[in-house]
């Protein structure tokens, strides 16, 4: 069975189906992260101090628990990856497959850098005994950044597929492949958007 409207616009929506699909998925993701953000706001306004006491030590600011320079670095990495993924799509629009591979590869590399840095951050917390169970601040930090990290990992898997075996479609159906890259890019920008709000609210406030 042939899947309809993979390359042509569906008459009633004016868009190819995957684009509607990804936006509906992203809408559900807004509610997922929105629910967790709401919980964070709820917990924070109810807390007498923030981050408060962790393992018997009192912290007046999240600056004292988390590394702002590392968080800033990772923010820059994710923003850069958002540019490279849209550049990868633009190269396909210009029919330059080699440059697509270059920019998509760069995006995957940047995503891996983000995850490795996050891994070092987590490890630094764990060696000091800072686990999610040690306080509301840490529970919020690990839940939100952990879920975001899983989304980054999911993005890496999809983009690696499009960079590697999935790229064969460029030979047989270049428009559908370009659309797939666009849709993956939309997801990736959403992951960046979530971090744009996570970074200041968790690291800087």
């Amino acid at each position: 069975m042939e899947i309809p409207y993979t390359t042509t616009a569906r008459p009633d929506t004016g868009l190819y189906n995957a684009k509607i699909g990804i936006w509906l998925f992203l809408a559900s993701e807004v509610m997922l992260f929105g629910g967790l953000f709401s919980a964070y706001i709820f917990l924070r306004i109810g807390a007498p101090e923030w981050p408060g006491t962790i393992l018997g030590e009192n912290f007046a600011s999240s600056f004292d628990v988390l590394s702002v320079p590392i968080g800033t670095f990772n923010t820059m990495v994710l923003i850069a990856s958002s540019v490279t993924v849209v550049m990868a799509w633009a190269q396909l629009m210009l029919k330059d497959f080699k440059k697509f591979r270059y920019y998509m590869g760069l995006t995957i590399l940047l995503a891996m850098v983000f995850l490795v840095v996050k891994g070092f951050e987590y490890n630094d917390k764990f060696v000091h005994g800072y686990f999610p169970a040690e306080g509301t601040f840490l529970a919020v930090y690990f839940t939100l950044t952990g879920l975001h990290g899983l989304h980054v990992l999911g993005g890496v898997v999809v983009m690696a597929y499009l960079w590697g075996p999935g790229a064969k479609m460029w030979e047989t159906n270049p428009q559908q492949f370009t659309n797939r890259v666009e849709v993956a890019g939309l997801y990736w920008h959403f992951v960046d958007l979530v971090w744009i709000f996570l970074f200041p609210t968790i690291y800087l406030l």
């Binding site: 390359t7 616009a9 929506t13 004016g14 868009l15 684009k19 509607i20 936006w23 509906l24 809408a27 807004v30 509610m31 929105g34 629910g35 953000f37 709401s38 919980a39 706001i41 709820f42 306004i45 109810g46 600011s61 600056f63 702002v68 800033t72 923010t75 820059m76 923003i79 850069a80 958002s82 540019v83 849209v86 550049m87 633009a90 629009m93 210009l94 428009q175 370009t178 659309n179 666009e182 890019g185 939309l186 920008h189 959403f190 960046d192 958007l193 744009i196 709000f197 970074f199 200041p200 609210t201 800087l204 406030l205």
Partner: protein, 104 residues
């Protein structure tokens, strides 16, 4: 955006926009961190942080995600999502302040 119908010139124009937006996002990130080091009280700090984050989010959504010029059905879907998100946050806050008033 009818991306499949873009000409080569249009794509090159878009690429220039992407690079400009990238520079703006980088500058705004530095501003966010710089403002945080001023250590303002929580409410003004929260407002400033959210304003800058919203500008950054607008740039990403508008230009990288091509929301500017996107079909109305996408705008409608996002508007509905935003309304549900606001309702969810409001429910949390109403519940909190209701409990606080009762003194539970």
């Amino acid at each position: 955006m009818a991306s499949e119908n873009m000409t080569v010139e249009e794509v090159h124009k878009h690429i220039r926009v992407y690079l400009t937006v990238f520079a703006a996002l980088a500058v705004l990130t530095v501003v966010t961190v710089g403002v945080a080091y001023i250590h303002m009280p929580i409410i003004p700090a929260l407002i400033v942080a959210l304003i800058i984050a919203s500008i950054k989010a607008g740039l990403v959504a508008g230009y990288f995600m091509h929301l500017i010029g996107e079909k109305k059905i996408i705008h409608g879907t996002l508007l509905l999502t935003f309304a549900f998100f606001v309702a969810m946050v409001a429910l949390f806050l109403f519940a909190y302040y209701d409990q606080a008033q009762v003194g539970v």
